[in-house]
Amino acid sequence: MAIVKTERHPELAPPVSQTGVIGWVRENLFSSWLNSVLTVVSIYVIWQAASGIVSWAFINANFIGETKADCTGSGACWVFIKARFGQNMYGFYPEPERWRVNLGYILGAVGLFLVLSDYVKSKKWPGIFLFVIYPVLCYFLFYGGFGLEVIETSQWGGLFLTLVLASVSIFVALPLGVLLALGRRSEMPVIRMLCVGFIELVRAVPLISVLFMASVMLPLFLPEGQNFDKLVRALVGMSLFSAAYMAEVVRGGLQAIPKGQMEAANSLGLGYWKSMGLIILPQALKISIPSIVNTFIGLFKDTTLVLIIGLLDLLSIVKGGTTDKNWLGLATEGYVFVAAVFWVFCFSMSRYSIWLENKLHTGHKR
């Protein structure tokens, strides 16, 4: 006479209000009255902003034409960007010679792919190509020589100049930064003090003052008659500046390597440079790659500052374009274009750095 149920009751489906789309919406958008208000207000704000931006940039925008007179719609005048596209990309680099820049881009992209890709196992030859052959090749390709017409650096400009500034600075700053970081951790007081002094001095002042110093004072420091090109002066300033920041990043990596590694290397009979080069630095650089990429993003954004010392980088050439009397009143389009170009570069680099961080994170992840 037991009134105990013997078989198990079939499992009920979870309540509709907690699963699926409805559950997600309740959980994430309307979990409390405050949240509901926030959601509604934010959606309204987004709708207003997005519809305004879309109609300005796309729906009412003008894409077809040659001159400002063709911009009849109420939205953006992208004709301005289109008409000056060549100049924005290459500056005053003569048009028939622009294939040299493009060739440089392609070779650089191939080299970078070979070095960074997982599919290529041996990094020796790609490394030698990218870091030894490519820079020399680029010098002759971009500047001239060996039968190629010489293009003075005063004619370089636009995105091309921005990329040159960023890549040369990082190319010089990285090894210099490693040396400075090693010097800062050296046991020799004189070397340590010099490195600390340089790093802290450079990090305490704004890049503009370093650039001013490079453009105004460098000519004073050199013997009479020996004068650098304006671009080289800017490059010296930017490289030294980013070397100081790079040094701090590398130092962070060095500090994360346990002391035992150095002791083990020493006990195997390796000297300072061998244990650094073969044991410590490979590990330290590996863990600091994400920070190095972040520093590079900062450096890439900072290249715009050469506008102040009168080089014609992307920002500078677009700014010049907005004061062209045939294209007055199009500052918004110009700056939005520059912002978009920089955003694409920096955002993809930062995503790459996050991806790399996850990939290199071998173990220890909570």
């Binding site: 958008l29 959601t39 305490a204 009143g329 110009g334 700056y335 939005v336 920089f342």
Partner: protein, 395 residues
């Protein structure tokens, strides 16, 4: 000891690390000194050839150029010297840096917390702001604000009126100014008393809470004191000030105070840019506090809002403060980008115009760098002190 052993083993002196260290250091010093000598020598020669007398005599010469924005000081293009230019530059840098730090901190904390919101829409708005702003160079943003937003505002004649005495046009934002009359000092005294009273009250409240566990509404009382006492002072002195309203004159706006577009663009650009970085710092700081802390607080029955304020934020601050310091330093250094939009801070007028007029590159760049070094040092000393104060007291 090691030297002895190696010596006995017949190893050459060159292999002794100690001797090698001394040798290298002497070598480095020699190279460094030779470099300094070479550079110094060249500089002196070059300066002589260009006929530039070095020294700081130029600081007392009249500057002879106009400056757009001068506050708290008198400046006259004919009589004021380069020293005045330096001080105006420093003052303008400090003004924009301090207001910028203030705004960027508020923006950063608000968006950092919003970025962690469980509300999907709010979360994505914060993420969009951070990701867009962080990845566009500051200089582009400054030029955008200045040339694309503030310059296309209506001209003075067609000013926008927010209210009758609040005008917006392409020369800035005009609003009523306060003209002090006799007895205005009472308000300052009130403010000072309010601040002193706040410090005393908060100390007393802290002590009482330690002893008895009773809480005291310190924040409300402090706000009441800091606002109330100056108001009281004003009432006692019989409202010792008058408003001067901006009026649309023939060509320009007369009276009132104005926030110039150069200042506004710089302030907006700096605080929005730095705010995005601070938001990320705040987010990672809050994320670094282990989730067990939140659970423990909830299981003790502490309300969610109090959990954030009393449990999570104090622990997160320890992680937040050091990178926050470097953001403050960055903001101050980045204020030098004002050169590009013509806000007269130290780099624009002193390292820019004064340098071009006098040609004293070494002295002027030296003074400018010294100023930034001092500021950097002051900010880091202050933040280190604050960091120590909130640091975890361990056994």
């Amino acid at each position: 000891m090691t030297a002895d052993v190696s010596g006995q083993a017949g190893v050459s002196m060159w292999r002794d690390p100690k001797i090698r260290a001394v040798f290298f250091q002497v070598l480095v010093i020699a190279i460094f000194l030779a470099f300094v000598f070479y550079v110094g020598n060249n500089t002196i020669e070059n300066l002589e050839k260009r006929g530039i007398a070095s020294g700081f005599g130029f600081l007392s010469q009249p500057a002879g150029f106009g400056i757009g924005i001068v506050v708290l000081m008198d400046y006259n293009a004919q009589t004021s010297t380069h020293t005045d230019v330096l001080f105006i530059g420093i003052l303008n840098t400090l003004i924009v840096a301090i207001t910028g730090i203030f705004l960027a901190t508020i923006l950063g904390f608000v968006f950092g917390v919003l970025r962690l919101s469980h509300n999907w829409v709010v979360n994505k708005i914060a993420a969009t702001y951070i990701e867009i702003v962080r990845n566009i160079p500051l200089l582009v943003q400054l030029l955008f604000w200045y040339f694309a937003v503030l310059s296309v505002l209506p001209r003075v004649k067609e000013s926008l009126y927010l209210s009758e005495n609040f005008l917006i046009n392409n020369r800035g934002i005009n609003f009523p100014s306060v003209i002090p009359e006799a007895g205005f000092w009472m308000i300052w005294v009130g403010l000072l008393l309010g601040i002193v009273a706040t410090v005393v009250v908060s100390k007393w409240a802290h002590k009482r809470q330690d002893e008895t566990g009773q809480q005291f509404p310190t924040l409300l009382v402090s706000i009441a004191l800091i606002i109330g006492l100056p108001v009281l002072g004003a009432l006692i002195a019989g409202i010792p000030f008058e408003f001067d309203y901006p009026k649309l004159g023939r060509f320009n706006i007369q009276g009132g105070w104005v926030l110039e577009p150069e200042f506004l663009a710089l302030l907006l650009g700096l605080s929005i840019y730095t705010g995005a970085f601070i938001a990320e710092i705040v987010r990672s700081g809050i994320n670094s506090v282990s989730h067990g802390q939140t659970e423990a607080a909830h299981s003790l029955g502490i309300k969610p809002s109090f959990t954030m304020r009393l449990v999570i934020l104090p622990q997160a601050l320890r992680v937040i403060i050091p990178p926050l310091t470097s953001q403050y330093l960055n903001l101050t250094k980045n204020s030098s980008l004002a050169t590009a939009i013509g806000y007269p801070e130290i780099v624009a007028i002193f390292a820019g115009t004064s340098l071009n007029q006098t040609g004293q590159a070494i002295e002027i760049i030296g003074i400018t760098m010294l100023f930034y070094l001092t500021i950097s040092l002051l900010i880091s000393v202050f933040m280190n002190w604050y960091n120590k104060r909130i640091a975890l007291v361990e056994r």
